[in-house]
Amino acid sequence: MKFGQPSTLPRWAQLTVLPVLNLLAALLVTGLVTWLIGEDPWECLQLLVSGAFGSGEGIGYTLFYTTGFIFTGLAVATAFHAGLFNIGGEGQAYLAGLGVTLVVLAFDHTLPPMVLVPLCILAAMGFGAAWAFVPGWLQAKRGSHIVVTTIMFNFIAYSLMLYLIGHHLIEAGSQNPTTREFGQASWIPAIHQVAAGMGISLPSTPLNLTFVMALLACGLFYLLVWHSRWGFQLRTVGVNESAARYAGINVSKTIILAMCVSGALSGFAAINELLGSTHRMNVSFTNGVGFVGIAVALMGRNHPVGIILSALLFGGLTQGGLELSFEKPVITREMIIFIQGLIILFCGALENLFEPFIAGLFKRKEDK
């Protein structure tokens, strides 16, 4: 299904100029709102940028948030390539957290890190994939709409986790709905610890080796989607399901597998958060990471390079936004959610809105 006005620009301009214009439009609206509530947008932007990238610590936190967003962005993009809109990244990451927690609580005092951590990753991928499998299966075999099903699955995941954490996984004697602290064996080493081992001193941040996995995942994603047989099937199903069926591609299988891969990728967001930073699970650990993934994938146009850049943007917005809220109490985390919404609107729903305004520029160049 093609949406919006078709673009006539050269491909490189579609991939660079339009997203930048859309981003600028989103920031312009944000600036307007900032000005309306009586703050200086320019000053806020400076504070935000310096909070996100101005110090080693800032950069560490920015990259930590970026890690989760890369994974959920890739997750949404995988489904998009098959023509599916997976809104369920949040629920899938949530359930992946359950998988991680169950493995850690069972084995963190018996297994060595070299076994435990890979086991946790497998559990996260498995649980995330399983939670995405059901909507995928329902879409492929029963024709129920993936968007509605994944929305419902987010709510079901939330209720399920609230119940499990509140009644079964809660730390004995604790008032807060969180699990006990995970054993050290399950902790994924932070980048600053790894660097210290090599004699480089970095500020202490939650940025951990999951970040390296995120970059590797981007490379794998590229190979899988554009240079593998399955990737070709995936994109064919996404562009034209009937054509794919005529070409002998098993559409149901492709859809189900795409959703499972998507869910497994979302699961890594839980790894980053639970094993890399908090080392315990509470009821709100996902904190919207699955929803940010939607904006990341849309802005990155479902390409790994774009996803890394837009995940970095959102990582910077999250970290810079936190710093900004210390300086300017009026501007809170919700401002970032607002920007995120605008980016979904401009980059996702209105992606070629500015095309008519700049199409003239490119035409004239070609004529000469």
Binding site: F338, G341, L350
Partner: protein
């Protein structure tokens, strides 16, 4: 008996915003435009209504502000879906995200209460109103009980909603606009050939959807809690969407779905911590999850089959 009445009474209260939102979704989806932005529209309406009611001390101006805020988001959705032929799901998602971002930002800047609005005083809220003769009839068995305990003593918005249900039903099935609405949602090309402006019908449908969502949001903030609270819609928009699917995109069954979900909600609050025979304590989450599981089962065709309007989600491009 007393308990049953109070249970049904809170069912009506919980169901009202759900019914309004579900009917809003019905207008939009029957015209062929997917609306997962019900949640966001309700949220901005709740905020705008509470803010306006606080400043002007008039619940009616609050309602007006709520409707205006909700309609303006609905028009953004209409622009994306109808004028621009964009992806309606992504647009709905954007509306939800924008709503949960902008409301606390403006709330904090204007009222300095952590993103909420100040508690409204008595004059600026909608009140429970007693229907005539409610007191006199309260001693008549059954009929009197139902009249005075169940029907009387609700906000004007509840009574408006009860009036709106048959009106919407009539509009969709009996009026000229309703015929066009359904035609545009099932087969826009045929409707276009017959001289119906698809874009116009969809804009009008989304406009009324915006109005109804505005009322739903206002009900939450200006009547129920008396102030705007961050994320106060808490999934009600999606619950309404679930009820709409439950009702197979028809007004009366959708209302029934809302009442059912609301009843489950009211029941769950009362069952908290109560030991039942045989099953023991039921965790509240198990009841909360029922509407969502039901919707999934319905969509999958395991329990009946919910078939969406044919042209839903597909932008209409006039053939040349």
């Amino acid at each position: 008996m007393e308990q049953l009445f109070s249970l049904l009474d809170s069912t009506i209260r919980v169901a009202t915003p759900l019914v309004l939102a579900a009917l809003a979704g019905m207008f939009s989806e029957r015209s062929g435009v997917v609306d997962i932005g019900l949640e966001g529209k309700m949220l901005v309406a709740a905020f705008a209504a509470a803010a306006a009611a606080f400043v002007t001390h008039s619940p009616w101006l609050g309602l007006l502000a709520g409707i205006m805020a909700s309609v303006s988001l609905a028009m953004v959705h209409a622009f994306v879906s109808v004028t621009y032929n964009g992806n309606q799901l992504i647009s709905g998602m954007a509306i939800n995200t924008i709503a949960s971002g902008i409301t606390p930002v403006l709330g904090l800047a204007w009222f300095q209460q952590g993103g909420n609005t100040p508690q409204l005083d008595d004059d600026s809220r909608f009140h429970d109103i007693s229907l005539p003769f409610a007191d006199a009839l309260s001693n008549v068995p059954l009929v009197g009980h139902v009249y005075s305990k169940l029907l009387s003593g609700h906000s004007i918005l509840v009574y408006l909603t009860i009036l709106i249900i048959p009106v919407v039903s009539w509009v969709v099935y009996r009026s000229r606009f309703g015929l066009r609405l359904r035609a545009v949602g099932e087969n826009p090309h045929a409707a276009d050939t017959a001289g119906v402006s698809v874009a116009r019908v969809r804009y009008i449908a989304l406009f009324w959807g915006g109005v109804l969502c505005g009322m739903a949001g206002t009900f939450l903030s200006v009547y129920q809690t008396g102030s705007f609270i961050k994320e106060m819609t808490a999934g009600k928009g999606f619950l309404a969407l679930a009820a709409l699917i439950f009702g197979k995109w028809r007004p009366l069954p959708a209302v029934l779905g809302c009442l059912l979900f609301a009843f489950a909600d009211a029941l769950q609050i009362r069952l908290e911590g109560v030991d039942l025979p045989v099953v023991g304590q039921i965790p509240s989450q198990a009841i909360q999850v029922i509407p969502y599981v039901l919707t999934v089962l319905l969509l999958a065709g395991f329990v009946g089959r919910a078939v969406a309007p044919k042209a839903i989600g597909v932008p209409f491009v006039k053939s040349r």
